[in-house]
Amino acid sequence: MAEPMKIRATLKGDLAEVRVLMVHPMETGQRKDAEGRLVPAHFIQEVSVRLNGRSVLEGQISQAVSRNPVFSFRLKGVKAGDKLEIAWLDSKGERSQAEAAIA
């Protein structure tokens, strides 16, 4: 897919509601493809959320998170224009990251 991640961050007072959509197969390693072969495990393992360059939330996840993960977080002490950066690392060592400004 063209965009591996989509971040939506909205501000209410000084609280930011962040929603991030990620593109990832999150294969458990137990699924069989159309030919009956096992599809190898391949899933995001680590997620990090940074605000203005500082880590505010870190997550470790498993293959039991749904394909094309959708996460929601809430951050406090946030103001419009603050920079949000979300990154992930998967079981194959692949990475992705995206940035968004708090609206």
Binding site: E3, D33, N68, S72
Partner: protein, 241 residues
């Protein structure tokens, strides 16, 4: 003791109805929750990229395509489909379980541009009227090893398969919400699926031979369903089980 037993029996008799109603409410809640947390937007974004991508020997994009409302006009175009187009584009099968096709991303993007527009498929052109008639005939046509028609499941109120309530698709009330929410992200395959796919899957589930994609049969059925359910504002692309 007898009175307690009688009360218990009365409660037990009422229980299945209460349970069914609770289940329905809980399932509706689930449907709302997955729609709120859906990755469907990613498919729309991918379609948007494809719409303006230059490719092929003429280095052309789709941006000047006419979907019925004029060259390059996307807003509200999906809500007026199906409709008759004089030129017939090549009809090809697209996509499967493991390999989503570009057509699916495009349909997500194009459909999204009709959000809020009332469903208003073409009915005036003689070919559109003929498609509606053929679709209506097909809806009630019994065939296959189980002697099923669409109407077997979707022709009467109060039917369900396991816990899923079956909408009456030959009525406006039943068809309206359905045509206003396809194409959709289906969580059971984690794929974006079109109404074309849905119709094909129904035929598969009725143990009938699968129709060819973009065949006159499937377009006729889609026409019948959309005309029957017309009027609702389009609110897709949806997220479904």
């Amino acid at each position: 003791m007898q009175r307690i037993a009688a009360l218990a029996l009365a409660a037990a008799a009422g229980a299945p109805c209460a349970l069914a109603q609770d289940a329905k409410t809980e399932i509706e809640k689930y449907q709302q929750m997955i729609a709120d947390s859906s990755p469907v937007e990613l498919f729309e974004l991918q379609g948007e990229t494809l719409w303006s991508k230059r490719q092929g020997p003429k280095d052309a994009s789709l941006e000047q395509c006419d979907l019925g409302l004029g060259a390059g006009v996307l807003k509200g175009a999906y809500a007026q489909l199906p409709r008759y187009f004089r030129d017939e584009a090549t009809k090809r099968v697209f996509g499967n379980e493991d390999r989503p096709s570009e057509m699916e991303y495009l349909s997500a993007y194009i459909a999204a541009q009709s959000r809020g527009a009332p469903m208003a498929p073409g009915t005036a052109h003689p070919k559109e009227a003929a498609a509606y008639e053929l679709g209506r005939k097909l809806f009630f046509y019994r065939a296959g090893p189980w002697d099923f028609s669409c109407a077997s499941c979707h022709g009467e109120p109060g039917k369900r398969i396991r816990m899923q309530e079956l909408p009456v698709l030959s009525s406006r009330a039943g068809a309206g919400p359905v045509v206003a929410t396809w194409p959709a992200y289906r969580v059971s395959n984690s794929q974006f699926k079109t109404m074309q796919w849905r119709i094909n899957d129904c035929y598969r589930q009725m143990r009938m031979p699968e129709p060819t994609y973009a065949s006159d049969l499937t377009i006729a059925l889609a026409t019948y369903l959309t005309v029957t359910g017309k009027g609702d504002p389009y609110r897709g692309p949806g997220t479904k089980r």
